[in-house]
């Protein structure tokens, strides 16, 4: 068995994520066991050696992301997978990957925190950790699958964005999506777009600037590349005090993502620009939305939705368009209002933004609960 054959499969979300990574070209995985993400490590451990890759279980999450960064600089596409607690431990290195422009993919299969919380239960409490978990000014790319199919598709997209923008990309999954089994279609390789990092020409020396996304050599290729998480100039030389060098570097690192929100931020919409009641959701919670909207329409309420496949950068223009027509925007999430404030900010006071939150025991927001909220808002 080498690459997975195109066709229809019945897979678990975590399995689909691992196969998506392999399809995208991932050949290095380092991880540490944690519920509900362990199946990704198990699948990678079995599959990667079959196709010339390496999977290793490290001593902790800090080592895992460290090895991933080393592997990426050695030229491999690399990934790690974890959940909230391990994701917290990785944050310092995620900032390092951002600062050093190291492409890599980090999967956070969210569980119910804070702390150990209800470790086996579903949660969506890492929305802000995925955006602001590491210190300093940084941009984040965070994708949120809501099906087993998207665990496959968005993992490929995550690698493509990581390679294209030379930045860490986070997949913000959740225990529900990761553990459920669904039908999934694996397309043929010709149908899948795969992006690889831009390599430098033989005489190039500037791997950290001048271009929006500079070319990236691998170590051992003779480029003598100095990689550092300290502020550095276009050639990678450390400047720990010069204000201009810092400004230039960090502003470019942020703008190379912020200038491409339209391309990066993917949403699924339904009547989003012409509804009375709008819903903005992501991940497992978004699976209840189409049914609730359909039922609302049967009752004469014009409802619509934006489903975020990309949470960060936040597709604020889409939300603003929704807010121009909608009276109320409902934000259902399995946390205590994390996406809510972002939607409120993006709607610029044009619509009333209402939270719908539920935490504990892995219970999801049901279509009935959402329908009731829609009807309540409509009357």
């Amino acid at each position: 068995m080498k690459m997975v054959k195109p066709g229809v499969y019945f897979w678990q979300g975590n399995e689909a994520c691992a196969e998506g990574a392999i399809t995208a070209g991932c050949r290095f995985f380092a991880g540490y066991p944690i519920t509900p993400a362990s199946e990704i490590a198990e699948h990678m451990a079995k599959r990667l050696p079959q196709i010339g890759g390496i999977a290793i279980q490290m001593e902790d999450e800090m080592a895992s992301i460290g090895a991933v960064i080393g592997a990426s600089w050695a030229g491999a596409k690399a990934m790690t997978a974890t959940s909230g607690p391990g994701f917290s431990l990785m944050q310092e290195s995620i900032g390092y990957a951002f600062m050093t422009e190291t492409p890599c993919v980090v999967v956070d299969v969210q569980r119910l925190g804070p702390s150990t919380g209800q470790a086996t239960k579903c949660g969506q409490g890492d929305v802000m950790q995925s955006r602001w978990g590491t210190h300093g000014d940084h941009a984040a790319i965070v994708l949120a699958p809501n099906s087993v199919q998207e665990m496959f598709d968005l993992t490929i997209k995550a690698f493509n964005l990581a390679e294209k923008y030379r930045t860490p990309v986070i997949i913000l999954a959740d225990a529900t999506i990761a553990h459920m089994r669904e039908k999934i279609t694996v397309p043929s390789l010709e149908e899948i777009e795969i992006i690889n990092r831009k390599k430098p020409e033989a005489d190039e020396k500037a791997f950290f600037g001048f271009e929006e996304v500079p070319p990236m050599p691998a170590v051992g290729e003779g480029f003598n590349v100095p990689v550092t998480g300290s502020t550095h100039n276009e050639y990678g030389i450390r400047f720990t005090a010069d204000p201009m060098v810092h400004r230039k570097l960090v502003e470019r690192l942020n703008s190379k993502i912020e200038n491409h929100v339209e391309e990066i931020a993917e949403v699924e919409t339904y009547n989003f620009d012409d509804c009375k009641i709008g819903i903005v959701s992501f991940g497992c919670t978004s699976r209840a939305v189409p049914e609730a909207v359909e039922e609302a329409e049967k009752r004469g309420v014009k409802a619509g939705y934006i489903r975020l496949k990309t949470i960060w950068p936040f597709p604020e223009k889409k939300v603003e368009i929704m807010a121009e027509k909608a009276e109320t925007i409902i934000v259902p999430e399995i946390n205590l209002k994390q996406l809510f404030y972002e939607v409120e900010r993006a709607s610029k006071g044009l619509a009333k933004v209402v939270p719908l939150n539920k935490i504990g025991g892995g219970e999801l927001i049901t279509p009935e609960e959402l329908l009731n909220k829609i009807l309540e808002a409509a009357n």
Partner: protein, 275 residues
Amino acid sequence: MVEEIFSIRKYLRNLKLPFCPGCGIFTVMNSFLRAVHNLGFENLKSFVFCSGIGCSSWISSPYFIADSIHTIHGRSIPVATGVKLVRPDLNVVVFGGDGDIVGIGLSHFIHAARRNLDILVIMINNMVYGMTGGQVAPTTPFGVKTTTTPYGAFEHPIDAPKLAVTAGACYSARWTTAHPKELRESIEKTLRMKGFRFIEVVSQCPTTIGRRMGFKNAGEMVKWFKEKAVPVEQVEKMAEKELEGKIIVGEFVEREKPTLTENIQSRMGRLRIEG
């Protein structure tokens, strides 16, 4: 034929070095590059250097004309793990301080030795957190006053070379900056060896701990190292009481074992990642 004169400059970028006058890092840098030169490496293209945070981590980054990955504090060995697994053909060398390697990064040090990861780790032990101004380290001698132990250190220092032996290293040694010849020979030997190799270099930080310990200059500290050094071969004949406050120098282990790369290769039948 004129014998080639060794010049450290051919391996260094034309940048001003940031280390304080009298710092032991100069000795380590010199010993390492002399060893590289003696082994016939005209440049550092077959090397990758990984380092963390601390003065010692600046040895390779960005001063060596080489690929160098200057990581976050304590995680140089994990990053080296990723590099070595993907590119087993490269010489991966880690430079780090005692705080980096056996403080915040201790777990990685032990696990890399356990795995027999094929890298050389050179730990410059100045017995203190020097870059941050002289706080107590896991290597600070008992009783020594630092900025965070103003009444004297109340913990005992870690014995990193012994730990490396127990964890499974193929080579483990300790020298001081008063032993530049032995250090260079040790580096030359380990650069020809396989497996997890560890060299601790007890080094002076005249700026922080040196002043607090009452040394007037770097030279006094180096002299002190020379006086305190006991060859490992003599240790067996000495009583525990006699060894108090001494610095045991020499080679603690030298052995051959299959490396992590070899073990992976024998299990998975691969050497280098495709594409």
